[in-house]
Symmetry: C2
Amino acid sequence: MPFRFEVLKQEQNTQARWGRIHTDHGDITTPVFMPVGTQASVKSLTPEDLLDLKAEIIICNIYHLYLRPGHEVIGRLGGLHRFMHWELPILTDSGGFQVYSLSNLRKVMDEGVEFQSHLDGSRHFLTPERAIEIQEVLNSDITMCLDECIPYPASYDYTLSAVVRTTSWAKRCKESKTRDTQALFGIVQGGMYADLRERSAHEIMDIGFDGYALGGLSVGETKVLMYEMIDATTPFLPEGKPRYIMGVGTPGDLVRCVGHGIDMFDCVLPTRNARNGMLFTSTGKVIIKNAQHAEESIPVDEHCDCYTCRNFSRAYLRHLYMAGEMLSARLNTIHNLHFYLTLMEDIRQAIREDRFAAFSADFLASEAVHDEYTT
Amino acid sequence: MPFRFEVLKQEQNTQARWGRIHTDHGDITTPVFMPVGTQASVKSLTPEDLLDLKAEIIICNIYHLYLRPGHEVIGRLGGLHRFMHWELPILTDSGGFQVYSLSNLRKVMDEGVEFQSHLDGSRHFLTPERAIEIQEVLNSDITMCLDECIPYPASYDYTLSAVVRTTSWAKRCKESKTRDTQALFGIVQGGMYADLRERSAHEIMDIGFDGYALGGLSVGETKVLMYEMIDATTPFLPEGKPRYIMGVGTPGDLVRCVGHGIDMFDCVLPTRNARNGMLFTSTGKVIIKNAQHAEESIPVDEHCDCYTCRNFSRAYLRHLYMAGEMLSARLNTIHNLHFYLTLMEDIRQAIREDRFAAFSADFLASEAVHDEYTT
């Protein structure tokens, strides 16, 4: 069955909605958080760990996989799912953001973007057509258009030119697509200018995609500005298609964004912070290396039933971290992803029961978000 | 039930025997390989991974745990089993070998050994009594005497002095022991002098221990010399007690040593080599980073049914290794430990069926050992 999205429930008092995405590799219940598996591995976890955590979809990056091991290698080995032994849906990012991150190592032209590999300095040229081709070879379930990401702050004229180019590239992406077993999402840009966000939303929507992403956010702007840009975009997006905000965010961001009508999220925060010893809990963050945890027999979060919290003390997790043991990253990653994925389940249930507004207010006032987390 | 060892079967044509060790934390079937969990973690694996691999006992190191997080911390948290969430037996090494490895940072005296921490240079003094106290606080199932390890080569006189001191320390270890829920193993030294090995074996046996270890082997001597020293020791050890060769060895060593009457093994080889990308297979070693594996869809070993081989190709394992992904170490470690633990199961079955001599000859002639592995 081809890609399809259903809104199962529009919450009464907010823009939050509960939905379901159907793909060839299974269904995804939205709002959904997608763990990040940049290089065809969610760092330190097996696919079975992710299934235990009830992850329904992961995101991989074509920029990295194109450079190493090469998308064609993965294609010859049966595609990305088989390569990494993950049978559920995969979304692939087009590489626009990664290439943008190379700053001095890239040059954007109308035809595409020339960049140097961060691995060996070799030169490459990524075009919209090439981005689609790579994703078709990888055979991911949801593919993304190549877009032009811009830094923050950026001038109006520069932002406008990126909107125009992103639209042009989106058309070329759609035109070059050859397989109807994969979904293709358009990406809305427009920097921090509400009128450009609106313009971009209309232009991308007019081309017509299976879903719509908000790109270029969470790049250094204030939270207030980020939500202004979301509100300058989502009203113009069709209700019947999933909305995906790229690279966002903290637990508080997830809850707020759902209230603004967002259905899909990805972020390195839970996994990267886990490796750095920062754990999300219902009572705020735990920095596991802190001396106060050296003899604590309690789990990271006494209200958590993840594998890590069921079996290990803060003292042991601190020991693993201080000793540089690899198991540290894994146990912490399990905990943080469990926190994120459980939060999404709680969000979905609140929407189903028409009490998302209250849930959101309670959560945002709780100790779980009393800290600002660094992205 | 206190510690007890039964020889269930003495193989007819060799010195190999099949046995069972009973401890408060469960039984161990011998000959047994003990995965190394130096710092209270078998690197990259959870206790559940080890159970899946059918590991029955692991070894931890009091040198490391004494320094970090501190044995008293672990004691206050309920002991080593609870600390690391491993409910099956644990053997703790006394630290003798680790302190020996510090070379210039240690000074051996009759009273004990003074050493500097490799972590922060702080000074510590380890005595036989202290080694026992630490192991009692950790509450491991099998504890080891503090011994004096010597480098290879070493003069006769120096080796003799280490034998004398090791015997003196073994007596003090036994005398200072206060808990009868833990087994205590004596360690035979004697360097590469057959008469000193025999002398040490007699002296240690006369003190009387729950099991006997062969220390100071696999320190740079030839294989021929190592087996000479084993044969200079085991005939003098009681048949009714387990025999443990410390820090040995390659797959071929395990098979050969079993034929020489050894019951217990530990070695970092399978786990350390896994992290370095060297995999044991039935057809010899696989260096996973080699370019020849870049597009291989076959598993590491087509005759292996471990989790890694059931689910992942050599190409994917190579990608993980080249990309520096943490999952690389874990999948490789699972495979290598499975190789070792399955080999031990095959050995036990061959002994039970009185065909160990043929098994040994076949294995030692097979491609599985056609390479020398670096320890």
